[in-house]
């Protein structure tokens, strides 16, 4: 018969007495993660591979320290690499809708922006000065005067021809007219009527001739004005070139190593020369656009001109788009915490002006890809996937290896905006996510494997060996330092490590998740502070763990209460045939607790089936059904190898309404059937967990600690009798990390944990009756469980045989 486990094996304690430290303040080693050699190698490989598509997907449990770990490795690598170039966007003078991207070696972008600002400032002073010079004004007036003279000559010639014919030229509100005069006054209509017909006719002919001549001559005016403006433009070009060229020449020399910049400077020079008057002398431009002598000084548009000029100067601005001078050194490492579409690829901002949204190249804003270009970009995969269009855009730029800024508005609504020149992209993207996400992408997105060829898979747990435990101490100490917590003494660290083992429900493993451990450290520190402990002690850690469990304890308390009030029927004493306490785990949020469930079995003659009531009413999951079917196989092979298994057994999870899955109760169900078949009562002070195979071997299950504690809490609530305990698979012993109160109850013999290897061991313990070993003749010893089961099944078979014969006889008769 199985013996109970010793108390010490129920919670292997961490012993750090071999380490020379009193508190974590004595531990200086700095460790971020534990036992992630595989992930480390993958990250190293990924950042070392420069070929296309070798981006990384770092997967693993939350809180495993992936970000910090990878960021550290990437940061170290980036520091050894050269700084990427600066990027500037400038105006495209040929096509303003397509701003030009200029590349500079690091630091030159900022310098170029400053130089261009200086150029404009210099020209703002120099050009007005030259345009206000006496020489320029005289030359300009000469051109204007020549035009006026030509214009006046048209009228003077006409007037000269008109005067001898008693005709004069008068100005009307909308033009000119040739009218007859007498004694210097316009002839009135009445006086005109009095003229002899011959005089009228002469006047008419003369006026018509003059009108035709004048109309013909006036048609020259636009051409002359065009000539005037052309000559003025030439004059302006000459003067501007004289002023601007020395500045541009100096800039060209300064940036001769950047051919695209030199081309841009050529365009700047041409544009300034072409538009100098309009840009730098708006008032002058207003004047020159009008025919001389027709200015409207009463309503001079100076404010508007100034505003226009201010806007126009923007074309010479330099949008320092990516400024790597600000970086410390090496390649950039950018962690974009909010990876929306615009935050990734940049955006085109707009300004509202008079009810219209306007934009230009100065309103282009970089995204994380621009900032990380030439380096590394760290992103949370889930956030990228949740942001509209971000994932597709990220893939697109990684495929095309260039960043093209395109607003979503532009994509979906086709609005007219900018189409900036794309910037070549050379970036290593590191995505962080959980395993589910990784496998989902790998399976569902055919492009994923092409772009993220390296997976760095972080472990959930690490072995609880001596070396790892020592590293764990260093990890705890590092977290204490990093979070500026008071030091933890040796005992406190031991409790933290114990808890880490409990987190993974394995006495031989530790959790690799740093986040939850850090949370525990902070909570324990808080308690230590309230207890006025300068050093965090074991009791503070225990209190933190207990507090955490207590805070999440409401559902567990309600469950226990329903059992205590006998709303849920659970026996913890006495014996019952065909009735047994099974154990299940409820997981709610981040907490899980065990709970006993009564399982009952009834048997009768039948055709060899075990009826799973849960499955029949669709409350049983497939794994549970599988376990039940295994029972049929076990019973048939074990007891009725040479005759029909003439049994009909039904199994019920009593008071279970929420569905059952998993096969961890299959051994429990088998015990209930064997009890029912053998009519041997099962001691209700036991609860059982463990799955069973076709050979009656009991197999490991999950949640063993929670299950034991769940039954312990019920028993303790009713008073421990010393006859209560839990049967667990022997293979689960290594997972035991039980609560202290359970361990202590076991130590004092008030409770017991039994490791079970096979069904015979279990049924013997549960019923107090030996299972019995099959003899050479195939029989079991009298009075044993197996004998009683065998006899019962044989009786069922005989009865069935007889029943079948009677039926056949009645049909034949």
């Amino acid at each position: 018969m199985a013996s109970p486990l010793s108390a010490d094996s129920l919670r292997p304690r961490t012993d750090l007495s071999h380490l020379k430290f009193t508190t974590t303040a004595d531990v200086t080693a700095d460790i971020d993660v534990l036992g992630q050699d595989r992930a480390f190698e993958a990250v190293r490989f990924g950042i070392g591979m420069k070929s296309k598509g070798y981006n990384l997907f770092v997967l693993g449990p939350t809180g495993a320290g992936k970000h910090r770990f990878v960021a550290k490795i990437v940061g170290e690598q980036a520091a050894t690499e050269k700084q990427p170039p600066d990027w500037c966007y400038v105006h495209n003078f040929d096509d303003p809708h397509r701003p030009i991207a200029l590349s500079f070696t690091c630091g030159h972008g900022r310098r170029f922006r400053r130089d261009m600002q200086q150029l404009v400032e210099d020209l703002k002073t120099a050009l007005p000065t030259i345009f206000e010079s006496e020489d320029y004004r005289n030359r300009r007036q000469l051109i204007d005067q020549e035009f006026r003279d030509r214009q006046d000559k048209v009228f003077e010639d006409i007037q000269e021809k008109a005067t001898p014919q008693h005709i004069t030229l008068v100005r009307t509100p909308t033009g000119l007219a040739l009218v007859p005069v007498k004694d210097g006054e316009v002839v009135s209509p009445q006086d005109f009527q009095k003229l002899p017909e011959e005089d009228k006719k002469k006047l008419q002919e003369a006026i018509e001739a003059l009108q035709m001549e004048m109309a013909a001559n006036l048609q020259n005016l636009p051409r002359w004005d065009k000539e005037r403006r052309e000559r003025l433009r030439e004059l302006n070009r000459e003067v501007t070139t004289f002023t601007v060229s020395p500045h541009i020449v100096a800039l060209r020399a300064a940036y001769m190593d950047f051919p695209e910049v030199v081309s841009y400077l050529d365009a700047v020079e041409k544009d300034i020369i072409d538009n100098s008057i309009a840009l730098f002398l708006q008032d002058e431009a207003d004047a020159q656009s009008q025919v001389p002598g027709q200015q409207q000084p009463g309503e001079h548009p100076v404010p508007e001109g100034r505003a226009r000029r201010r806007l126009s100067f923007r074309r010479y601005e330099v949008n320092l788009f990516v400024d790597n001078e600000a970086e410390r050194s090496g390649a950039p490492v950018v962690h974009e915490d909010h990876p929306t579409h615009p935050n990734l690829i940049g955006r085109i901002e707009q300004q509202a002006e008079l009810g219209t949204l306007l934009t230009d190249f100065t309103l282009l804003r970089p995204g994380a890809l621009h900032r990380a270009n030439g380096g590394y970009l760290l992103l949370d995969a889930r956030k990228v996937l949740l942001a509209p269009a971000a994932w597709e855009e990220l893939k697109r730029v990684l495929f095309s290896r260039e960043i093209r800024i395109e607003s979503l508005t532009q994509s979906y609504f086709g609005t007219v905006t900018l189409d900036p020149e794309p910037i070549p992209l050379d970036v290593k993207v590191v995505l962080f996510g959980d395993r589910q996400l990784y496998y989902m992408l790998a399976q569902g997105d055919p492009e994923f494997d092409e772009l993220f060829k390296v997976a760095a898979d972080f472990e959930d747990e690490v072995p609880r060996d001596r070396a790892t435990v020592e590293r764990y101490v260093a990890l705890v100490a590092a977290q204490v330092r990093r979070n500026k917590l008071p030091p933890f003494d040796r005992g406190a660290v031991e409790r933290v490590i114990d808890h880490s083992a409990r987190m993974v429900s394995d006495a031989e493993k530790l959790s690799a998740r740093v986040g939850p451990v850090t949370d525990l450290l902070q909570e324990a520190s808080h308690i230590a502070e309230t207890q006025r402990h300068d050093i965090v002690q074991a009791e503070d850690v225990e209190a933190a763990i207990a507090g955490r469990e207590r805070r999440a304890d409401r559902i567990r308390t309600l469950s226990l209460e329903s059992i205590a009030r006998q709303i849920v029927l659970i026996d913890t004493d006495g014996g019952k045939v065909g009735q047994i306490n099974g154990l299940s785990v409820l997981s709610i949020g981040s907490t899980a607790f065990g709970r006993p469930t009564r399982i009952s079995a009834r048997v009768r003659m039948g055709r060899g089936e075990v009826i799973d009531v849960e499955r029949e009413v669709h409350l049983g999951g497939p794994t549970h059904s599988k376990g039940v079917l295994i029972l049929s196989s076990y019973l048939g092979a074990h007891y009725a190898a040479d005759r029909p298994l003439s049994l009909s057994a039904s199994l019920v999870f009593e008071q279970s309404y929420g569905g059952v899955d998993g096969d961890s109760a299959s051994s429990t169900e088998l015990y209930a059937i064997l009890s029912a078949l053998s009519d041997a009562p099962i001691h209700q002070g036991f609860a059982v967990t463990g799955s069973v195979n076709q050979y009656g071997e009991v197999q490991a299950i999950g949640g063993v600690n929670e299950k034991i504690e769940g039954f312990f809490d019920v028993c303790r609530g009713r008073g421990l009798t010393g006859k209560q305990g839990v049967l667990i698979p022997v293979s689960n012993v290594k997972h035991l990390m039980l609560r202290h109160d359970v361990v202590e109850a076991c130590r004092t013999g008030q409770f017991a944990i039994y490791p079970i290897t096979n069904i015979d061991d279990g049924i013997s313990l549960l019923t107090g009756v030996p299972a019995g070993t099959r003899a050479a003749d195939g029989s079991y010893p009298e009075g044993t469980i197996n004998r009683r089961v065998d006899d019962r099944l044989q009786a069922f078979a005989e009865a069935r045989r007889k029943f079948g014969a009677e039926v056949r006889d009645s049909r034949a008769g």
């Binding site: 033009g175 009218v179 006036l218």
Partner: protein
């Protein structure tokens, strides 16, 4: 018309269809604002043009060389459009300067209508040049006719020196011992005082004459409580006046009718020679 001590409370500005009218109006408004005077806009529909528009076979030629009908209906429509524009301009300027204002339309000969409307007005402002076809700016017959007939103050605005009145340039008073010199000095002092402008007194003659004139002007100005800068010129005539104008840095010239300073030059010639606004004051 005001005597030497009376304030200028009402200004009449004559407007017509010429381009320079807008400049004249803006200048008049600026002056009225400084003097806190009422501004009366008078748009004159030139009856000569209306007569001409009734003549057969006369056509209107635009500055683009296009020929079109020239009839009385179209002419009247053009006038109405211009009146409307002038009224709106006057209104907007008056609003900006918080001026008291009115607008009238008269049809007839410009000089006659201006003189008719000048009753009860302290200052008449007219454009110096006639609405001519050339850009050279012929001195308008209207302006001269008004100057001859008006026994008061008339200001000839100068489109080529726009903003002089509005922008607070100096006021040059020609004090040459003429019959209207005292009155010119008084009006100039009032204009300069109202706008916080520099008053420059220009006196011609030899040293003794200039000294005497300066002394007399000083006494007049002392009585008015106004200080001035004095510029003496040795000669009479427009060249001397232009020289004084240059020394003063431009500005408004205030001169008496038939002033000795003119050296017998007709007013029309003086107006043609000097590119500055000029206020001509009749003798008492």
């Amino acid at each position: 018309m005001p005597d030497s001590g009376a304030p200028i409370t009402r200004i009449l500005v004559a407007l017509d269809h010429s381009d320079d009218s807008r400049t004249t109006l803006a200048e008049a408004a600026a002056l009225a604002a400084r003097l806190q005077a009422e501004l009366v806009g008078l748009f004159i529909e030139d009856v000569k043009l209306l007569d001409a528009a009734q003549l057969p076979f006369v056509r209107q030629i635009s500055l683009t060389g296009q020929s079109g009908p020239f009839d009385r209906t179209a002419m009247e429509r053009s006038f109405r459009a211009q009146e409307q524009a002038a009224r709106q301009l006057l209104e907007s300027i008056a609003l900006r300067h918080r001026l008291s204002w009115s607008f009238r339309v008269a049809r007839g000969r410009a000089s006659v209508e201006i003189l008719a409307q000048a009753q009860g007005v302290d200052l008449v402002i007219v454009g110096k040049t006639a609405p001519t076809v050339t850009r050279q700016g012929r001195i308008g017959a209207t302006a001269l006719a008004v100057a001859d007939a008006l026994h008061g103050a008339i200001l000839f605005s100068e489109p080529r020196a726009a903003h002089v009145l509005g922008h607070g340039g100096p006021v040059l008073a020609v004090f040459d011992g003429g019959a209207a010199a005292d009155r010119a000095l008084a009006i100039a002092a009032r204009l300069a005082g109202a706008g916080g402008q520099t008053l420059v007194v220009v006196s011609p003659g030899d040293a003794a004459e200039r000294q005497l004139l300066r002394q007399r002007a000083g006494e007049r100005l002392a009585a008015l409580g106004v200080s001035a800068r004095f510029i003496g010129v040795t000669d009479h005539g427009p060249a001397a006046l232009e020289d004084a104008l240059l020394q003063a840095g431009g500005g408004l010239i205030v001169i008496g009718e038939h002033a000795p300073m003119l050296g017998g030059l007709p007013l029309a010639d003086l107006l043609a020679l000097l590119h500055a606004p000029m206020l001509v004051v009749a003798a008492d």
